[in-house]
């Protein structure tokens, strides 16, 4: 397996924006066409750098939303006090240029050989690297059973809603909505807790492989909960993007 380790140092490059697709009121997916892309693994991210006219630079890392083999894309949520995301979500257009480097990360990644069953826990935009994993699973014909629990503020804030609704063949998707829900909502409500984890998680005896991505508080609650259910800590992979985020 080719690891980032074998590819040497990361070099900044200027990618062309191939498309910008609105996902929700505050979230867009940006497909990029970089001149040199060595391919990525499901779960990795890339770094984006914006440079102001006075030379000030701001760097952010964004999870790659597409599966290995698909055009590289990131999904970005607008943070109202952000330095970078308001530009990416509000002003960037197809044909623009964007400075980036990657792929980055060798820990929060999944390969079909890693198997499952997979438990994927997403808080807010933490769904992004998990979507790459789910697409990779499907594209490679993996038969690892997968369960996705996606915690979101509201139904309107659910990213990739249509796509996630089309999964079957060994994939289950459920949602918990934390700040209100549509009339007749049959899914879960409220923040993730031990009771909900106990209800949805594969039994520890199945030796599940868990990926948890979201705001720090979400990840801490979920990871501690799974270990409490008997999951092996080394099979509970986590990625925290800080903040309180929307989840």
């Amino acid at each position: 397996m080719a690891r980032t380790a074998l590819r040497g140092r990361l070099t900044w490059q200027v990618a062309t924006v191939a498309s910008v697709t609105r996902e929700t009121a505050s979230v867009v997916t940006i497909e990029l066409d970089p001149p040199h892309w060595p391919g990525h693994r499901a779960g990795q991210h890339l770094d984006v750098r914006l440079t102001a006219e006075d030379g000030y630079t701001a760097e952010r890392e964004y999870s790659i939303a597409s599966a290995p083999g698909e055009p590289v894309a990131i999904t970005v949520e607008r943070l109202e006090d952000g330095e970078v995301s308001p530009y990416l979500t509000g002003e960037l257009r197809a044909g623009d240029e964007l400075e980036m480097r990657g792929p980055v990360g060798g820990y929060f990644v999944w390969e079909p050989g890693d198997g499952g069953p997979l438990l994927l826990l997403a808080g807010g935009s933490g769904i992004v690297p998990l979507r790459s994993i789910m697409r990779h699973r499907r594209r490679t014909g993996s038969d690892a059973p997968a369960y996705l629990l996606y915690s979101s503020r509201s139904w309107e804030d659910v990213i990739y809603r249509d796509e996630l609704g089309q999964y079957h063949d060994g994939v289950q998707v459920s949602y918990t909505l934390t700040r209100g829900h549509p009339a007749g909502w049959a899914g879960h409500t409220g923040r993730i807790d031990q009771a909900l984890l106990t209800q949805v998680a594969w039994p520890a005896e199945a030796n599940p492989l868990a990926y948890i991505c979201g705001p720090t508080s979400f990840v801490e609650t979920a990871a501690a909960g799974l270990v409490g259910l008997g999951y092996q800590p080394e099979r509970v992979k986590t990625e925290r993007f800080g903040g309180t985020g929307g989840h």
Binding site: A5, R101, G106, Y107, T216
Partner: protein, 86 residues
Amino acid sequence: MDAVDGNAIGGLLIDVFGTDMTAASSTCATCGASRPVAELVVYRQAPGTVVRCRTCGSVLMVFVRAHGAIGTDLTGLASLSQPGSA
């Protein structure tokens, strides 16, 4: 400043070490806790990055960018080892 985790500094670590380090195993020199670098607590406040132990909170690594170079302090680590390396 909110904490993130070691996944977020994968690019910085490649700048310093020349290879992905998020899957490397770290051992805290203070409490002896071992975990992947990806699981460490990271505070970023430009121009510095402080990496702390998730068990005892000790400072494990500090990186400071200035004048095109990265100053690195690893004195809080007892060890740092790549998976699969001999």
